[in-house]
């Protein structure tokens, strides 16, 4: 069976009875069983639940026909959840040995909402342990490979989520983005990754990394699908007090994209520069205007991030004492230990003002600068990463070098704005290229409109 590429195609072919949901599950699971050994994208397969839900979905379609999709807009859409999202009754590890045998007693809001909309869960995706990393190599269960070339990393921390969708293990996957962890792997695997506005999607039931930065995203093959998933996952759930009810910023007919010169600096790969120029040309031919802008403080974003994030990490990982669930703190891997140590240090007596308070003030300056830009432009274009996908092992011994992979991601997380990574062709070495569009808070619809314009033309 040739698997569907979009939610729309899945729906149409289910209605035409080209396949059933059970047959869809058969096909995806057979892909996982034949290729996961090499890619290591999936940590747990939930085949029993998958077949149970597929049979249920087939029954609904049999009874209601096309109308089934009004009540269940994602009926038959397969999903693999990053192993950071709690799934009731299905092992959830955060890709850490500390939680190797942890089986949650409740599910994350995102998991529940997708299930209610008709999604079929196939399993749990590998990732950097505790979502700490940019390559997938920090997983305690071994690195994930990039399906485009297995010598290369798929990007992290949502490494398995991106690798799985690129390898046709599932139509969509969930991911989290604390500093590019959804956008980078989507970019490295030639997919669409959405980091929503902070406060648009509930974090309830997700293993917390840095609570003021964590955004619940997803990875799809198209912008059109990204919009459909966001429309299901967004909105208050009564469990995460930071989630606001917001109908979204209205989208103008004529759009202007800002080009911040600080994001196109020395050190940026030449192929990426050339590719983004081609993206701009295409947009211009579609009537989109470009305007040069300046965001002089965003170059400090990664420094502020590497104070605020570890500080919050050290606090969030303080709860893992092995008493109520999970193993002892000795099971933390190197990267988790590094971040706990760094966070504990910047919060400790004598250093709080110099590091943590300073970073929170820098966050104010960076955020205000970004918000003000949206008086002039509707979105901002930037590279996702300064380099093309890199090889396994290339940055693993130098934590600072690995951290700088996310230099262009930090701005969106610090200021809480949405950002979408969109694929834009391939480099000479046949690995995917892409760009990111950032928008004002609750401006997802602007990003979707621009993204759909690009992918349809």
């Amino acid at each position: 069976m040739i698997l569907p590429k979009t939610i729309k195609e899945t729906k149409e072919r289910l209605i035409r009875k080209e396949f059933s949901c059970v047959q869809l599950v058969d096909s995806y699971l057979s892909n996982i069983n034949s290729k996961n050994k090499e890619l290591n994208a999936v940590l747990t397969i939930s085949d029993e639940i998958a077949y149970r839900d597929a049979k249920k979905a087939d029954e609904i379609i049999k009874n209601l026909g096309e109308e089934a999709f009004n009540e269940f807009p994602l009926l038959g859409v397969t999903v693999i959840h990053k192993d950071i999202f709690l799934t009731k009754g299905v092992r959830t590890t955060a890709a850490s040995k500390l939680l190797e045998n942890y089986v949650p007693v409740y599910s994350a809001t995102v998991v529940n909402k997708l299930e209610k909309a008709g999604c079929i869960m196939l399993g749990k995706a590998n990732c950097d342990a505790w979502a700490h990393g940019s390559s997938g190599e920090n997983s305690d269960f071994g690195p994930t490979k990039n399906p485009h070339n297995q010598k290369y990393v798929p990007g992290g921390s949502s490494s398995g989520s991106a690798s799985a969708v690129a390898a046709n293990f599932s139509l969509i996957s969930t991911a989290t983005d604390t500093c590019g962890s959804t956008r980078l792997p989507a970019n490295f695997c030639g997919l669409v990754g959405l980091k929503p506005t902070y406060g648009a999607v509930s974090r309830y039931g997700c293993i917390a990394m840095a609570s003021s930065l964590d955004s619940m995203g997803h990875i799809t093959s198209s912008v059109e699908d990204s919009r459909k998933i966001f429309n299901v996952t967004k909105g208050p759930d009564g469990f995460d007090a930071t989630v606001a009810r917001h109908s979204g910023i209205p989208v103008k007919d004529k759009l202007t994209i800002g080009v911040p010169n600080e994001f196109f600096v020395n050190g940026l790969d030449k192929e990426i520069v050339k590719n983004i120029n081609e993206v701009k040309t295409k947009y211009e031919s579609l009537g989109v205007k470009f305007k040069e802008i300046s965001l002089p403080h965003t170059k400090y974003a990664i420094s502020a991030y590497y104070i605020i994030q570890p500080a919050e990490v050290s606090s969030n990982l303080g709860r893992y004492d092995g008493i109520r669930f999970g193993d002892s703190r000795n099971k933390f891997g190197d990267e988790a230990k590094r971040r706990i140590m760094l966070g504990t240090y910047v919060l400790s007596a004598g250093y709080y003002d110099a590091y943590y308070l300073k970073a929170m003030k820098a966050r104010t300056i960076i955020s205000k600068e970004v918000y003000k830009t949206f008086d002039e432009v509707d979105a901002i274009i930037a590279p996702v990463s300064p380099t093309l996908p890199f090889k396994l092992g290339e940055k693993v011994s130098d934590p600072l070098k690995m951290y700088l992979t996310d230099i262009f991601a930090a701005t969106a997380n610090l200021s809480g704005i949405p950002s979408i990574a969109i694929p834009s062709g391939f480099a000479k070495n046949k690995l995917p290229l892409g760009f990111q569009l950032m928008g004002p808070r609750f401006g997802e619809d602007i990003l979707f409109k621009l993204g759909e314009m690009y992918e349809r033309n």
């Binding site: 007693v105 003021s212 400090y300 502020a304 109520r324 590094r338 240090y345 300073k358 104010t364 934590p399």
Partner: protein
């Protein structure tokens, strides 16, 4: 500039309840010093009279009704399900008071 000593690393590890080997202390001291060195570039920003940002939602004081909702509460069995070593509905914890 921001140079950690191995004593600093040991102290921080103790605060964070992490047991580190001598080798780890050596490694982390170097790696953390490098990261701290990099992030001190924040000192180039003038933050005088700037208010700190701890969150970006603009929300203030989100309340909920002070009412018990059984559907939001784990049962005792569920709450204890993550551990094998429980006694009479209690978690077993390490002894912190000497006999």
């Amino acid at each position: 500039m921001a140079k950690l000593s191995s004593e600093d690393t040991k102290h921080v590890a103790k605060l964070a309840q992490l047991n580190l080997s001598e080798e780890e202390i050596k490694k982390f001291t170097i790696q953390l010093s490098n990261v701290l060195d990099y992030i001190t570039q924040l000192n180039k920003i003038d933050t005088k009279d700037i208010q700190p940002t701890s969150q970006t939602t603009d929300l203030k004081n989100v309340y909920k009704e002070d009412k018990i909702d059984a559907t939001r509460i784990l049962t005792q069995e569920e709450a204890l399900s993550g551990k094998d070593d429980t006694i009479n509905g209690f978690f077993v914890v390490p002894r912190i008071i000497k006999k």
